[in-house]
Structures are given as structure tokens and as C-alpha cells.
């Protein structure tokens, strides 16, 4: 029982836990919104545009680039929804981190090979640069941290 006027201080571990929860909520909302936007931009345009972006990385044969152009936007949409709703965060977080990590690695490869190509992240018109790398690198770090915290949390 606290006396009137007495201030209750959170213990360091409780404060850390609260900060982790806030970080996780913010991360999944931000990443979820980004994924939904990325999916929206790709789905509203002809699929060939995204296939051209994938093809320009020169890592997949054309047939597989076409298949990826059909699949990735729907995957982004599903992940965006799962992240925002917050269901199955360990699985959705892991997939998010893996996907973002793959995109980031491909962008790094293109950048260091001097390929002046579009990132393809949010539709055409955005050439890979240190800015896009910084943005996507931050997203990877965020997704990894969020997933790690999700695994640390008690079920």
C-alpha cells in the first residue's frame, strides 16, 4: 500500500521490459505499414514493371523473375497485415527479417558492382544509392531486433 504522494518507481528490469514492448509495437506497425505500402505500389501497377526491376538485378533467370514479380507483392501484403495485427510475430518477424535481409544483400551487391539500377522497393524511379541502402539497412536491423525480442518474450 502506497502512502499518498509517494511515487512508485519501476524496477530497471520492468522499465526495460516496457521499453521492449513499446519498441516491438512501434517496429511491427512501422514495418507493417511499409510492407503494405510496398505491396500496394506493386499491385496497382502492371506486374511487368516489378519483373523488370527484379530482372535488372541479374540474379534470376527471366522466368523466375516473372514468378517472383507475381508472388512477392502478395507476400508483402500478407506480412504487412500480420505485422500490423501482431499475430504470430515470431514467424512473421523471422520471414520479414529474412526477406529484408535478402533484398538488402541484393542491393549491396548491385551497388558495389556499380550497377545503376532501380531499387524496385516501392516501384520504379528510385536508383540504388547510399540513401536507399541506409533506409533498407535500418529496416533489416529493426526487423532483426523486433524478431529477437519476440523470441525473448514469454508466451
Amino acid at each position: 500500500m502506497m502512502a499518498p504522494g509517494e511515487v512508485q518507481y519501476a524496477t530497471p528490469s520492468a522499465a526495460r521490459s516496457k521499453a521492449a514492448v513499446i519498441f516491438m509495437i512501434a517496429s511491427r506497425l512501422v514495418l507493417g505499414a511499409i510492407f503494405l505500402y510496398a505491396a500496394y505500389v506493386k499491385l496497382k501497377a502492371p506486374w511487368q514493371l516489378f519483373a523488370m526491376s527484379i530482372d535488372s538485378y541479374q540474379v534470376l533467370p527471366l522466368g523466375m523473375a516473372e514468378m517472383a514479380a507475381h508472388v512477392i507483392p502478395w507476400l508483402e501484403l500478407a506480412l504487412g497485415l500480420l505485422l500490423i495485427v501482431g499475430i504470430g510475430l515470431r514467424i512473421s518477424g523471422t520471414i520479414t527479417a529474412l526477406i529484408l535481409g535478402t533484398f538488402f544483400a541484393l542491393m549491396l551487391r548491385a551497388y558495389f558492382k556499380g550497377m545503376q539500377i532501380d531499387c524496385g522497393c516501392f516501384g520504379p524511379g528510385e536508383t540504388i544509392s547510399w540513401k536507399t541502402l541506409l533506409r533498407d539497412g535500418s529496416m533489416v536491423a529493426d526487423a532483426v531486433a523486433m524478431t529477437w525480442l519476440a523470441f525473448l518474450q514469454k508466451r
Binding site: Q48, L49, S56, P124, G125
Partner: protein
């Protein structure tokens, strides 16, 4: 929300009207369902690839059907590695005034590895322009390349590109009705064809 939609529509209409075409730099039927605006730089190797590889395929497949209207725009990049881009764009535009744009553009792109800034004969583009002109045409082009209206035309192309967020070359903008798509480079022809064939 309605206001936003109205403003957006007005902006698109204005942009559409401003994308006027110098008819001597065009290919195809002006009333075609699909329009391709090409922003390129004569010193850019990727523009050479577009001009020599992709453009002939597009013209071959869509020329007879009249489905695409292609408009070429000058977009000389203002970078140290492209010292002659702007001057060449002026000369090419001068050639367009006498109806020789295609022939001169072909010659310039074919010989780009020779005359471009880092080639063995940097800046000696005139001999490849002159090669497809008769002496009278050469004289006219020499005069026209310094004509303020030609210089203004090139500058207008650059301004238009800047308004359309062109930041690299070649930039290909495909329009169909009110839809406008900037194509990521390099463009796979089979994907391009699949996209255009899907536009009714």
C-alpha cells in the same frame, strides 16, 4: 479528398499537355493507344544499348500495328564524364529540323565509343553527323545548332524531364490513357512487349 483528386487530375492533364512532341523526333501514329517518351543522352552507353538494341525491336513489332507512338527527348546529363552531351543534343535537334534526326541519332550512337568523352577521338562527333548529311544540309545544321530556338528546345526537354523526375538515362515513360509508368532500366524486351500487349 475530392479536392486532392481534382488537383491530381489537373496536374496530370497539365503534364500531359506539356509533353508536346517535336514531330521530327517521333515515330508512329500520334493517336496510338500507347505512348513511349524516351529521355536520352548521346554520351550514355545505356542509351546506346536502348537505341541500337531495344528501339529497333519496338519499331519492328509495333510500327506496322500503329500501337505505339514514340517520342525522343534530349536529356544531356550534366556530369564531367559527359562533356559533349549538351552540344551533341543541340546538333541532333538541329538535324531534326531538317528531318534527319533518325539517321544522325543512329550514326552518333553507333560511333559513340569513338567520339564520347573517354573515347579515342573525344568530341569529334561532327564527322559522324556529317557522314549522313549532304554539304548543303551540313551547312544548315551548323547554323541551326547555334540557333536560340534549337538551344531552347533542348533546354525545354531537360526541364520536362526534370519535372517528370528523370534522374538517369535512358528514362522510358510509358503512357496509356491516364496511366503513366516509368520503366526500370535495363528493360527486358519480352516484359516490355507483354506489358504493351496487355494495354488495350
Amino acid at each position: 479528398m475530392k479536392l486532392c483528386a481534382l488537383l491530381l487530375t489537373a496536374a496530370l492533364i497539365c503534364l500531359g499537355q506539356s509533353m508536346t512532341a517535336d514531330t521530327s523526333k517521333c515515330f508512329g501514329n500520334p493517336n496510338a493507344a500507347v505512348r513511349l517518351d524516351v529521355f536520352s543522352d548521346f554520351e550514355c552507353p545505356a542509351c546506346r544499348a536502348f537505341h541500337l538494341d531495344l528501339l529497333p525491336q519496338i519499331e519492328r513489332d509495333y510500327g506496322p500495328t500503329g500501337k505505339i507512338f514514340i517520342v525522343s527527348h534530349e536529356y544531356p546529363l550534366n556530369i564531367p564524364a559527359h562533356k559533349f552531351s549538351h552540344e551533341v543534343a543541340n546538333y541532333a535537334t538541329a538535324c531534326a529540323r531538317i528531318g534527319k534526326y533518325d539517321a544522325v541519332a543512329n550514326s552518333l550512337f553507333q560511333n559513340q565509343p569513338t567520339w564520347y568523352s573517354e573515347g579515342p577521338k573525344p568530341g569529334q562527333f561532327w564527322e559522324y553527323i556529317a557522314a549522313v548529311l549532304n554539304p548543303a544540309e551540313q551547312k544548315r545544321v551548323q547554323a541551326l545548332a547555334k540557333d536560340p530556338s534549337v538551344i531552347a528546345e533542348v533546354n525545354n526537354d531537360v526541364s520536362l524531364g526534370t519535372r517528370l523526375n528523370v534522374n538517369s538515362t535512358p528514362t522510358l515513360i510509358l503512357s496509356h490513357g491516364s496511366q503513366r509508368y516509368s520503366l526500370p532500366w535495363p528493360v527486358s524486351y519480352s516484359l516490355f512487349k507483354s506489358m504493351v500487349d496487355g494495354m488495350k
